[in-house]
């Protein structure tokens, strides 16, 4: 079966972000960018399905600026067979991203589409669910285990309080949680080979999708700073402070 895997270019997770002085957004100029960590897990899962003989082809897709091709090349180096780049320099909200991905799903007809559960920049946790809705497919969100059994997909989901296992009718959409797998590193020969793998570029216009949003970003601010506190010298002092100064224990 064919597996489609969606990846996003985001700020590297180790970077301490800065809010622009005019509060219009976060400043991303000259900041290290990388593949979203949850997307890495999605790519890894797709590649493992191929190695297990379940998937026959893995197609990586991204929606974003020209520079996002770097992340597609990373996916190719990790084992994806080819890539589709929906190129747009405009900011893309979750719903528009889901609409663009739905068009790619329509064209490619994958049996399984894997996405990360959330991007670490917008922290929305929406696109996979929206893509499932738009394509009329079932969804297995926050997956920590995925198993293909004929025409159904068994997905173990991380829920508040534990784990839940559901059966989904294929074709289906899955979003990855952190514990689904441990992504591999791309080796240099694979990175070289990835440069020759096919990468198609499309535009939202070609896909017939208008990248608009019902949401307006009014402002972005830094959160209130926490005041660094004091270091205490002993357990006795700590207990005393908690009882008499902070009054949080009795």
């Amino acid at each position: 079966m064919k597996v489609l895997v969606a990846v996003k270019r985001v700020i590297d997770y180790n970077v301490k972000i800065r809010v622009k002085p005019d509060h219009s957004d976060v400043d991303l100029t000259n900041v290290k960018m990388a593949m979203n960590p949850f997307c890495e897990i999605a790519v890894e899962e797709a590649v493992r399905l191929k190695e297990a003989g379940v998937a026959t082809e893995v197609v990586a897709v991204t929606v974003g600026p020209k520079a996002a091709q770097e992340q597609l090349r990373t996916a190719l180096a990790l084992g994806a067979d080819r890539a589709v780049h929906v190129q747009t320099e405009a900011p893309v909200e979750s719903l528009a991203a889901a609409k663009l991905l739905a068009k790619v799903v329509e064209e490619e007809q994958p049996q399984l589409t894997i996405l990360g559960k959330q991007a670490i920049d917008s922290d929305n946790n929406q696109v996979g669910q929206m893509l499932a809705a738009l394509t009329g497919r079932p969804q297995g969100t926050f997956a920590s285990e995925v198993e293909v059994e004929g025409e159904t997909l068994k997905v173990t989901r991380e829920i508040d309080g534990g784990l839940q296992t559901v059966a989904l009718q294929l074709p289906a959409i899955v979003t990855t949680d952190l514990r689904l797998n441990e992504p591999r590193y791309a080796k240099l020969p694979d990175i070289m080979k990835a440069k020759k793998k096919p990468l198609d570029t499309k535009t939202p216009e070609e896909l017939g999708v208008v990248v608009a949003s019902g949401l307006k970003l009014v402002s972005v601010e830094a959160p209130a700073e926490r005041q660094g506190g004091v270091k205490v010298g002993s357990v006795d002092e700590l207990v005393d402070k908690l009882k008499n100064e902070a009054k949080v224990i009795s």
Binding site: L95, G162, V239
Partner: protein
């Protein structure tokens, strides 16, 4: 315009988070209905009807909603949403699973995890792991919103709303429930606890997490963990506090053997008082801690337990 709140419930009990979401709905303003979808949810509906500020509880009681799978519940919400200007749910795994599906079916954006209501169209929400706060304004006719429950105080339970059944005639051929493995615990729920004590990689092993038990018992605390402790296999993942786990904001948060990575801080930095116990006095956790104690947790924890 009216507001519909999707109730969350487990094992015939209304989840605590629902009372927090109703509080967010009150901040928006308007009539508040609560939807209870499930099977044999009479007691849940009664509990929802007691929440202050609720005008009406609507109950969809059918086998298809038994495990509140996203596919049938989102269809139900689509069928009901015509009466409402806002649909709200808690930003739990349940709310996050269902609401974006509803939003896409209605062709509107979804606003995730709001922490403040500015007005009926404008909301604040954290982005970049809580390192920035975005104010967003929705121009959509229907606002679909998940609510960070720790940011809103729960409403009381002295109300007397009416309960009425809604038509529940949706088939679900797309997905089915197989099983559930829930962690059993006598302690308060992590998201709702007044005191949380969390262990990190510094705990060294799952066995050593027992050192937290006595302290948690004395303080009536829930026990949490950092992602490092979960990934090392010390404790199950539903104990994880952080950007990718649970967001907590207790009165007292005690971080033991946790360095304080951005990912973890995103889940607990709105706690009222933070205590850090760590042997590394350079650990970033000390920059947010109100009280820090540098030392060996294996000596400090037993002493702390005996002195509480």
């Amino acid at each position: 315009m009216s507001i519909l709140v999707l109730a969350e419930h487990h094992d015939g009990q209304l989840a605590e988070t629902t009372a927090h979401v109703v509080a967010a709905a009150q901040a928006i303003g308007g009539d508040i209905d609560v939807l209870v979808a499930g099977e044999n949810v009479g007691t849940v509906a009664e509990a929802a009807a007691r929440l202050d500020g609720v005008s009406r509880v609507r109950v969809a009681d059918a086998a298809v909603y038994a495990h509140q799978l996203a596919e049938p519940v989102s269809e139900l919400l689509v069928a009901l949403s015509g009466d409402y200007g806002h649909v709200l749910a808690a930003a739990t795994t349940h709310g996050k699973n269902v609401l974006p599906r509803l939003a896409a079916l209605k062709d509107v954006s979804q606003i995730s995890e709001i922490i403040e209501v500015v007005d009926a169209d404008t909301f604040k929400r954290p982005i970049y792991a809580g390192n920035a706060i975005a104010t967003v304004q929705s121009e959509d006719a229907l606002k679909v919103i998940t609510v960070r429950s720790t940011a809103f105080d729960a409403v009381g339970a002295t109300g007397t709303a009416g309960v009425e059944a809604v038509e529940a005639g949706i088939d679900n051929a797309l997905s089915s429930f197989i099983d559930e493995r829930l962690e059993q615990s006598d302690r308060p729920e992590l998201g709702a606890a007044k005191v949380v004590i969390s262990g990190g990689r510094g705990m060294g092993s799952g066995e050593n997490f027992k050192l937290l038990d006595g302290i948690a018992d004395k303080l009536g605390a829930a026990i949490g963990a950092s992602r490092a402790a979960v990934d090392a296999g010390y404790v199950p993942n539903d104990m994880q506090v952080g950007q990718t786990g649970k967001i907590v904001a207790p009165e007292l948060y005690i971080a033991v053997g946790i360095s304080g990575a951005i990912q973890h801080l995103a889940g607990m930095k709105d706690s009222k008082v933070i205590v850090a116990i760590n042997k590394d006095d350079e650990a970033p956790i000390f920059q947010v801690a109100d009280y820090g104690l540098v030392g060996d947790l294996f000596e400090i924890l037993p002493e702390l337990e005996s002195k509480l």
